[in-house]
Structure formats: structure tokens, C-alpha cells
Symmetry: C2
Subunit: 479 residues, 2 copies
């Protein structure tokens, strides 16, 4: 596909040559990433100022582009795929997943409608069913039942979709009850805990419901939502004429891996007619192992559930799985059908058009990377690595507990450990900076009870015992 006399496309031969080189580049990168400074040491505008101000007039050789990648791009990379990456929550990647992304790009299909590539829709349908079985989720999420799953770009979009479906559902219910008078949006209230991910607040902004109509419920000592407080707050709000309609429970909060009790929150949701969304973006993957499924108790009470294979399931971003109990709720809220998208398959009602399950119209063929990853690892492979990550995090927690200078500051049920030096915020903040500046590992922080806390998450695919041991050595040595 490179330019000849007639056109500027890259020739098939050139694509093969550069493609092989790119495969080697990726394999070399993965083999060497462990030695690179994890957090980029670039200063603002290093790259921006180094590149020309406009696109070249003439076609350039791909080898020149690759030279600039080494020179300008690589110094500005924070290496999420380094086994020394313990920051935030990890973002997934693996050989089979990268191959899936390659095929998806090569096919270049647009799966907005079933008819625009049936395989894009149906492989996704099948993968969503696989995930229901894999995680032991309630059977009503299977497509043969009233519910079903779809791939979104992120947990942010997933919770926005759930919130809008809930908003439309309650609006229609109220419309019927009130005999044609629409519900006042200003009266609709959503509930989260103080530890819920910020994407819920953002979803309230986007949906127009507003953050004033979001109630943050206090948490207990394990950073789980206090169900009693939720119940009380709902009663207060109803007495003031508000209409509670939505609650988000979390399996594995971002700050500290807090796990809400789905049964108690779910019962309140059911009694009060609230839509319960469950955000398990990071920790959902743990449910692949039966021994980590306790946190799913009560999940049958949820109206929607989301987890991100692109976090801890070795699948490349973006790949976020959203399940709803009733697919009609989501389609009613998001469907639209202009003439130019009409086609026989849609009109037959026999197929799913996934554009009605999401914010954008267009969709990539994301299911390929999920399929490749699940088949490459198999259930036993995924379980092996998830168990190893949890074991390593638990071991790390033991070392912290046994140390003189550090302390554990939150429960650590899975692969995230929150800890701090006993000498206060300034020491911890300086320590994180020093560790990250060293380039030897990358950690991020949060605040719990107003105190600066260090987070260590074991979730990068290639992180092993030696990396966690080295991290602990460095943490002690630099403190």
C-alpha cells in the first residue's frame, strides 16, 4: 500500500515490511519495558515544541516516522505495561488482545447496525454471554432473557448510559402515574457513596440532572456505603418532595477497593423503586475465580452492572462491559432511527443494533480482542494470573503490617493495598514523589479520612513476586 505512480496508498508489500517491523517493535518493547523509567520524565511541551507546526506537504518514509517515534514519542510515554506499574488501576494488554486490535483495524468495519457487519454484533453478543458465565453473574443478563450486555468505551460511559436509562424509566412511570404530567427533573435524586467514582458525578453533569441532585452517603470503616444512612437520606429527601430514582453501588472503589453490600443497598433500592447500578470496573474481574465471588451477593437486585475487561483482564482499552436486566430500558432511552439507517434486518426486529445501547453511533469491532484473549488464556489461565495478583497484594500487605514505619489503612480484599508511613502526610507525599521520580516504579495516592495514603495495585499482566518485592524494598529504602 505505498505510493506508486497512480496513488499515494501504502502498497501491500510496504505494509508487510512495515507491519513485520511494527510487530518486532512491539515485541521488543514488551521485552524491554521493565528497564524503562515507569513515569515519563518529560517536561510540559517537550514533544509539542519538538514537532513541526504543520503536516508535511510530501509523503514521508515510514522509517523516518519510526525514528521520530524513538526520538520524540518514547521519552513522553508513561509505561502502563511495565511490571513496575502499581499506580491507579492498571490498563490491560496482552499478545492476543493486541492481535485482536490489529485485526479490528485491518477489517475496518463499522458495527453501528447489525447489517453493517453481523459478525461485529454477534461476536459481541456471544462474548457478553460468555462474560456472564465467566463471572457467575445473574442469568437475567444473558441475551436469551430480558437483559443483555454490550461493550462500551469506559465505565464512565457505562454509568452514564445506566443513569439515562433510569431517568427515562422513572420519567415514563411518573408520566403514567401523573396522568400526562411529566416528572420534574429538578426533583430527581441519585445516590452514591463518598467513595463512588467521579464518573457518576460527571454523568449527573452530562445528563443535566446536576450535581446538586446527587447525594453522597457516608461510608463505614471499610469504606462501604452505610445502608442505614442511605435509607434515612431517602426518607428525608422524599419528605422534602424529591423523587429518589437511582443508586450506584461499587464493588472495589477506586480509592481503597471498598466493597458495598449489594444486598442491603439493593433491598432499599427495591423498596424505594430506585434503579441500582453496580460499578465493578476494576474488581469485577476477580469474580472469574469462584473464591472471590462473595462480593457479588445481592447482585441479582441490580438493574445494571459494569466491569472493565480493559483493566484487569489483559484486554486492551477500550473494552468495558455493561449488562442490563431489561434491555428495553436502555433501548427506550437511546434509540433513534433516521431514514438513512433503516434496513430490512432492523425492521424485522430479529437483530440487535448496538448503536441503541450507547452514546455514539459508530462502533469498532471490539469483541475480537476479547474473544482472542479469552480463548488464548482460557478460564484457567485467567484464574491463574488473577489469583497470583491477589496473592502478591496480600503478601505485600503482610510486609507492611510487619514493618515498623508503615501501616495498612484500609481493608485490602483483592489486589489493591492502601498504606502509609506513620510519620504523616508530608513524609508520604515526599516518598511518592521520590519513588516516582526514580523511575523504578510508579505509585499513586488517594486521601482516606482526610489523610494522604499510598496505593499499590498489583494488576499489570507481567507483574510477579520479584517486582512487588523490589517495590517494597524501594519504599523502605527511600522513606
Amino acid at each position: 500500500m505505498k505510493k506508486d505512480n497512480k496513488n499515494y496508498h501504502m502498497t501491500a508489500d510496504e505494509f508487510r515490511k512495515q507491519g513485520y517491523a511494527m510487530v518486532d517493535w512491539i515485541a521488543d518493547y514488551w521485552s524491554g519495558v521493565e528497564e524503562m523509567p515507569v513515569l515519563s520524565q518529560a517536561a510540559p511541551n517537550d514533544l509539542f515544541n519538538a514537532l513541526p507546526n504543520s503536516a508535511p506537504n510530501h509523503s514521508e518514509d515510514f522509517s523516518d516516522i519510526m525514528q521520530d517515534v524513538e526520538k520524540h514519542i518514547m521519552p513522553g510515554i508513561t509505561h502502563w505495561q511495565s511490571p513496575n506499574f502499581f499506580a491507579y488501576f492498571p490498563t490491560g494488554a496482552s499478545g492476543p488482545s493486541i492481535l485482536g486490535e490489529m485485526m479490528s483495524a485491518g477489517l475496518g468495519v463499522q458495527g453501528m447496525l447489525w447489517s453493517t457487519s453481523p459478525a461485529c454484533t454477534e461476536l459481541e453478543m456471544k462474548m457478553m454471554d460468555w462474560l456472564v458465565h465467566l463471572l457467575g453473574l445473574p442469568k437475567h443478563y444473558l441475551l436469551e432473557n430480558a437483559g443483555g450486555g454490550s461493550l462500551q468505551d469506559s465505565a464512565s460511559s457505562a454509568c452514564l448510559v445506566a443513569l439515562i436509562a433510569a431517568r427515562e424509566k422513572v420519567s415514563k412511570l411518573s408520566l403514567n402515574k401523573l396522568g400526562g404530567n411529566s416528572v420534574d427533573d429538578k426533583k430527581l435524586l441519585a445516590y452514591i457513596s463518598t467513595q463512588t467514582h467521579s464518573s457518576l458525578e460527571k454523568a449527573m453533569m452530562i445528563s443535566g440532572l446536576g450535581t446538586d441532585n446527587l447525594r453522597k452517603i457516608s461510608v463505614d470503616g471499610s469504606y462501604a456505603m452505610q445502608a442505614e444512612s442511605l435509607k434515612k437520606q431517602i426518607a428525608i429527601d422524599k419528605a422534602e418532595g424529591y423523587l429518589p430514582f437511582f443508586v450506584c453501588a461499587t464493588i472495589g472503589t477506586t480509592s481503597s477497593n471498598g466493597i458495598d453490600d449489594l444486598t442491603s443497598v439493593g433491598k432499599i433500592a427495591q423498596q424505594e423503586g430506585l434503579w441500582m447500578h453496580v460499578d465493578a470496573a476494576m474488581s469485577g474481574t476477580a469474580s472469574i475465580c469462584p473464591e472471590f465471588r462473595d462480593c457479588n451477593k445481592g447482585l441479582e437486585l441490580a438493574d445494571s452492572y459494569n466491569f472493565n475487561p480493559h483493566k484487569w483482564m489483559f484486554t486492551n482499552f477500550d473494552c468495558s462491559a455493561l449488562f442490563v436486566k431489561n434491555k428495553a430500558d436502555i433501548i427506550n432511552a437511546l434509540s433513534i432511527l433516521p431514514e438513512y439507517l433503516k434496513n430490512a434486518a432492523t425492521e424485522s426486529g430479529a437483530v440487535i443494533d448496538y448503536r441503541d445501547w450507547q452514546i455514539p453511533l459508530g462502533r469498532r469491532f471490539r469483541a475480537l480482542k476479547l474473544w482472542f484473549t479469552l480463548r488464548h488464556y482460557g478460564v484457567e489461565g485467567l484464574r491463574h494470573h488473577i489469583r497470583e495478583h491477589v496473592t502478591l497484594a496480600q503478601e505485600f500487605a503482610t510486609w507492611v503490617e510487619e514493618s515498623e514505619n508503615f501501616e495498612i489503612v484500609a481493608p485490602h480484599p483483592l489486589n489493591l493495598v492502601c498504606f502509609r508511613h506513620k510519620d504523616g502526610d508530608a513524609v508520604n507525599e515526599a516518598l511518592v514523589k521520590k519513588l516516582n521520580d526514580s523511575g523504578d516504579l510508579y505509585l499513586t495516592h488517594t486521601k482516606l479520612n482526610g489523610e494522604y495514603v499510598i496505593r499499590l495495585c498489583v494488576g499489570q499482566a507481567h507483574t510477579t513476586r520479584k517486582h512487588v518485592e523490589k517495590a517494597w524494598e524501594l519504599i523502605q529504602a527511600m522513606s
Copy 2:
């Protein structure tokens, strides 16, 4: 990266082997796609029923997976990258773009914040500036000025972001004017034409403003918004106590490539204090050629502008460029900063955190494919292909005009031709079905003035004269 005794990851050697094979698979696919039936002939659930109901317990060989791709996936592909694809608007792809997707997947970085990979943010910043120069857009969209650009997944998300930024801006303005009384959302009105893309209607649903508050303005004979009607409708609405705040103008409507007069719409927007968003999703790319820039007259009056390199600029989906005149407007509407995302770079104010410019939090490294594509083709290469596509579409229109049985039904300024057989809707509908069932080409329809119309869009990278000639032969032969 394939499983050894210690783990289940694909070994580097195995990744190289399968990676080379995948590169060959893609090159072979592109070489052979012309011969494949464009529209998939699969029946609903062919694929869904052919695959097992759950993920395999044990790791499978990648070669087995590839066999299943041939057997189960390929029959379900509608070939968007076939040069015989004339349906909808095309979706881009090219050698350099696919290589960019490969590198993005291989690096596996998450560009939500500047600090989480400065290169991901800064290459995007640079590419957005390049696009401003490339398309001859107003200079206020350059990042050094008040505005700036960012990559979104799609035009749908881009118009949603613009709508929300406009909503928040007018709400704050009103808040100040009204002395603390918030504006009533129910009074906010947005304006589009009857030909505007359905994503605007969807954005009204998502944002909670509601489709009742969307006014569809009539169009003239060229399917452009009637500015006089817009002006009148605004006056009527204001007299009824409504607050007009947003108008979307289109450069190249989806139905018929109608082009709104930005100057007349923009002047009304300015007089009335409306945010003007310009949707040039498909046709924006034409502006790479100076001779097609007339449609941009008045663009300086717009508050936001969007076009999709992933449509006609040989860049893989998803890659949609959104520019705003004032970046503060977008950040004010979408920014949120929880403790776990705080970092020194963000707090310094010296960098852009692109998460504040979009709906989701996470972001892929999309700028790589854009950089690779722009450098591979160069400005002259892009111009060459765009000009060729426009020339081919214009030639096709001539053939239709000169024919006895067919007629042109709308202006065809660029690469989309709307036409129909003179014998009425049933004949045209049957013709489209027959053509698409043949597998030799793929066309879609729309309705204009209530009549069924056939659309032919020349935009797939490898479409040449012989493909358009063959299409016209088939259209005549099968009618």
C-alpha cells in the same frame, strides 16, 4: 508471550510469529477484498449459534482461533474497505493508520491525564493544530489561542460535548443575569434543520434537554437550512418565553450532502446569543483542498466545529476532531478532579488533561494513527485522493443526468450523489435490494421530500474509476 510453565502469557516469540501472520492476513485481506460480496449475506444468529456458549477452560492455540475467523467471522463481515462500498459515508483505514493502531495497542497507555503519558496528550495537541492548518480553519482553534482541538470517538460525542458546553455556558450567564436564579432547563431551545444528523436529537435526549426542546428548521431546494425560517422561529419561541441557546449547522448532511450557509446562520446565532456548532463529519475533509473551502465561509462565527478523519481521511475509526473557540467553555462543563487523579502537572496548570474535554475518563493513544497517516500521505497525497473521489462522483452524476431512466435529485457538491429511477419508490427500493444482494457493490438509501432516493458516496480509499463505472453499469443493468 505464550504460556510456559510459569504463566499463560503469549511469549514474545509466539507474538512475533502470530503478529507476522496477522500482518500477512491483513495485507491479503486488502488485496482480496474487492472480490468479496460487499454486504454480508449472513442470516441473523448464524454466528451467534455457531460459537460455543462459554469461554474455553483451557488455553487454545492461536492457529485454531484464526481458523474460526475464516469459518465464522468472515461470512459475517460487511466489507467497508471494499472499493465497491458506496453506502452510508465510508469509514477510513489505510496502511499507516493500521500501523498506528498497532503501536497504540502495543504501548497500551491510558492518556486520561497529561502525566499518564505526556506524548499521548502532546501529540494529540500537535495533530489538532496540524488539522487547523490543513483544513484552513479559523486560527482561534489553535491551542496557542483561546480555543483548541481534541479527538473524540465520534461526531455524536462531539456534538454532545458541544451541546453540554453551550448548556452550561448559557446557564451560568443566565445565573448571573438573573441574580442567582438558575435558568429553567425546560425553556432552553436548540435548533437544527430537518436534515441535521440524528446524533443531535440523541444529544438532546442524553443531555436531558429533551427532543421537545429541539426545533427543526425547514430547508431550501439544496437541503440547506433556511436562515429566514430560523430567525422567525427564534422570534416566535422568544415571544413564548423560551431561551434559544444552540444551533447546529451542517457542512455536508448525511442524507444528501446539503451545505448550510454558515454566514447567515452564524449571524443569527451571534445576534441571538446562540452557540453555533458546525457538523462537517464527512465533508470537512474536502477542505484539505483549497478549491473546496467555499463551504467554510462564515466558520469564524462558529463556537465549535467537528469533522471525522475516520470518514474520508484514511484514518481508522475512531478518530473524530472537535474544535472549540474557547477551551474554557468545554472544560467548565466537563471537568472534575477527585483526589486520586490529582498530580503535580495538573496542579501547575501548565498542561492539558484531555479527560476534561470529553465524556469518558480513559483515552486511547489515537493521535498516533493520525500522525502516521498525515506523514505517509503528506498534504499532496491527501489532496490527490480527495480530488479524485470528487471527480469520480461528479462524473457519475453526469452519467445519471445523461441517462433516460434515472435522475439526479439533489445538488452534489462533493463526493455524494443522490439519484433515483424515474419509475417511483417501489422500483428504486427493489433496485437497491437487488444490487446489494448481488454482493457486487453496496449502496444505501434515504428519503428526500418523502421520496425514496439512492445514495452513492465515493470515499473508500481504493475506489477508482473502474469501480464507479462498474457500479453504474450494474445500476443500469439491474433496473
